[in-house]
């Protein structure tokens, strides 16, 4: 009896997970089919396989320029958001600062705020200050919304961190800086890295904030895609989407390989 019930439960579990996966991955399949189908509109079933949309995407100076800009901005955002987010999480979890709860809420606020408002506010602030729309404004805007992700994941690891481990290191003769680099950092690393991956995706995918901060001669990939879609809706859009999905995946894998997300997640 019990065995049968367990297997029934297991089956329900598998079905539910299968449904969730399908729901998450189905749009990807649609995009993939669209990108490889030769007709310049969405059609099902597909009539053939072509690489013409990918060729169009890679041949377009506009697409390539914006892809490059998006990657450059995302790279800067990853570095900044990781440093700021991890440092802020450490200060909040460890600093014994007054008003820790308020500060945490403040730092996490960009998560709650619609990004379009953040973008508008930034735009107005920059105009008022007379800065125009420089590239660094894009980096700042993206960093603003990426920092909470790094903080979240880092705070999560810090919340069940046994501080006796650091004390043990100190009692064995490690001065504070060595305790940090030899013990604290390696232990919180999985959280920080997970956060930096989120930061990359948040920046690379960012649309509402970018919308306010780009100039016609200097647009990020999501903005270019959006504008392109307003006039033509052909397979190039799908190809671009495929490329950006694969690029994001590649970045995740590279970060994982370089700093060993899995290796540090093991304990």
């Amino acid at each position: 009896m019990r065995g049968r019930r367990a297997s029934l439960g297991q089956r329900a579990y598998l079905v539910a997970n299968g449904a969730i996966l399908f729901f998450l991955l189905a749009p990807l399949a649609v995009v993939a089919v669209f990108a490889l189908n030769p007709t310049p509109f969405i059609q099902f079933p597909p009539v053939g396989v072509t690489t013409r949309w990918f060729e169009k995407f890679f041949a377009s100076a506009e697409f390539m320029g914006s892809l490059r800009l998006s990657l450059e901005v995302a790279a800067a955002v990853v570095v900044l958001a990781t440093l700021i987010g991890a440092a802020a999480a450490l200060a909040l979890a460890r600093g014994g600062l007054p008003g820790t709860r308020f500060l945490t809420a403040l730092f996490l606020a960009p998560l709650m705020l619609p990004a379009i408002l953040t973008g508008l506010a930034l735009f107005q602030a920059l105009q008022l200050a007379g800065f125009g729309r420089p590239t660094w404004a894009l980096v700042v805007g993206h960093t603003l919304v990426a920092v909470p992700y790094v903080m979240r994941t880092t705070l999560a690891v810090l919340s069940d961190f046994d501080r006796r481990i650091e004390e043990a290191a100190a009692s064995l003769g490690a001065p504070p800086l060595r305790v940090f680099f030899e013990v604290t950092l390696p232990i919180i690393r999985p959280g920080v890295i997970a956060g930096s991956i989120f930061a990359f995706i948040v920046s690379f995918d960012q649309f509402p904030i970018s919308l306010f901060l780009v100039t016609p001669s200097r647009e990020t990939l999501p903005v270019v895609l959006f504008n392109y879609m307003k006039f033509d809706l052909d397979g190039a859009i799908a190809a671009a989407s495929m490329v950006s999905i694969l690029l994001a995946l590649a970045v995740v894998i590279v970060i994982d390989r370089l700093v060993g997300l899995r290796a540090t997640m093991r304990f």
Partner: protein, 357 residues
């Protein structure tokens, strides 16, 4: 057993009026004076929240004393940071480095001291041998049992040859059997190394079994310091008498060199000086059951619990008070009958008088 690691010579520990207050008005440690001799196995024993951990953490340097001095091996360490104190520390939660192997965990303190590789390898191997963990070098903490993790923590602390080893309930998370085995091993290791060991526990049996001396703590104060037999047989305060083992307390007063119970009965004690309110403390195993009228007090046997090697009887007196009496299990399977009237007696020298503060 492999040859012991040579130790830096064991150090004495002196606490002078050491006090620690926490925000919120808690006085966790209240003007403690204590001298732990070099090479001694010293236990801090007391109920939860009495300040044992805080005291240990002030010796280790994790907490700064608000008042008083901490002197180790003649050196005033009161204002010396943790990483310059050179003490081994073992935590109840083990606190191993989860991202490092067993060998790397043990080597950590040596690496901080810049010990050369060949010597480091030899000392790590030797420390792991001391705690009987050869062959586990490449494992990670998550791949070890609780007992094995505690051994790694111990090896990591002794490998630096500290003059002082501090342990905060190191065996608290282990099951009973393993805990008893580890008690023996820890005691042997401490002897072999000759290290001064301060051991925090709330388990009185553990403290009695392992220590050279015990300091009994209560609400931030040291109530009594002495050898286990001293603490058990000659408690100096009610708190110590009641905290350690089981005890019968009879209220009364000291008068004319004797003890007069509240009901006016004169009870046998060895001669006592002074006058005033006091309590008579009697360990259950020091009482003997005799036939009715032949003892000091008569009562009715109201309960018997079989403890294995001993039997614990409850004798209810005429005024309703109860005395606990422990007898050796006679091994005949026959316990005394509930409801029988009998007498209880004791030797005057076994009665301890506790003065009211």
């Amino acid at each position: 057993m492999p040859p012991p690691l040579p130790t830096a010579s064991p150090a004495s520990i002196t606490l002078e009026r050491v006090t620690k207050r926490f925000p919120g008005g808690v006085v966790a440690v209240d003007k403690i004076d204590l001298i732990v001799e070099p090479g001694e196995f010293f236990s801090l024993l007391g109920p939860s929240g009495c300040g044992k951990t805080t005291t240990l953490r002030m010796i280790a340097g994790f907490e700064a004393a608000d008042e008083g001095r901490v002197v180790v091996g003649g050196r005033d360490l009161t204002h010396v940071p943790v990483h310059h104190r050179d003490m081994g520390m073992v935590f109840q939660s083990y606190a191993l480095f989860p991202h490092r192997t067993v060998a790397e965990n043990v080597a950590f303190g040596l690496r901080m001291r810049g010990v050369a590789r060949p010597e480091m390898a030899a000392r790590v191997a030797s420390a792991l041998a001391q705690v009987k963990l050869e062959g586990y070098e490449a494992r990670r903490p998550a791949e070890l049992s609780g007992g094995q993790q505690q051994r790694v923590a111990l090896a990591r602390a002794i490998v630096i040859r500290p003059p002082v080893l501090l342990c905060d309930e190191p065996l608290g998370a282990l099951d009973r059997k393993l805990r008893q085995a580890m008690q023996v091993e820890l005691k042997e290791l401490q002897r072999a190394l000759g290290v001064t060991l301060v051991f925090v526990t709330h388990d009185q049996e553990e403290a009695l079994a392992m220590s050279d001396r015990i300091g009994v703590m209560n609400s931030g104060r040291l109530e009594q310091v002495g050898a286990p037999a001293d603490i058990y047989d000659r408690p100096r305060t009610r708190f110590v008498a009641e905290f350690i083992g089981e005890i019968n307390l009879i209220e009364g007063r000291v008068h004319d060199g004797g003890f007069i119970a509240a009901d006016g009965r004169v009870l046998p004690v060895s001669s006592e000086k002074g006058e005033g309110a006091a309590a008579l403390a009697l360990r259950p195993e020091k009482l003997r059951i005799v036939s009715s009228g032949a003892g000091v007090i008569d009562g009715v046997l109201s309960d018997a619990s079989f403890l294995g090697d001993q039997v614990l009887y409850t004798v209810t007196l005429a005024d309703g008070r109860r005395l606990l009496v422990k007898e050796r299990n006679p091994g005949t399977g026959a316990l005394r009958q509930n409801g029988s009237t009998l007498g209880v007696r004791w030797e005057p020298r076994d009665a301890v008088i506790l003065r009211n503060a």
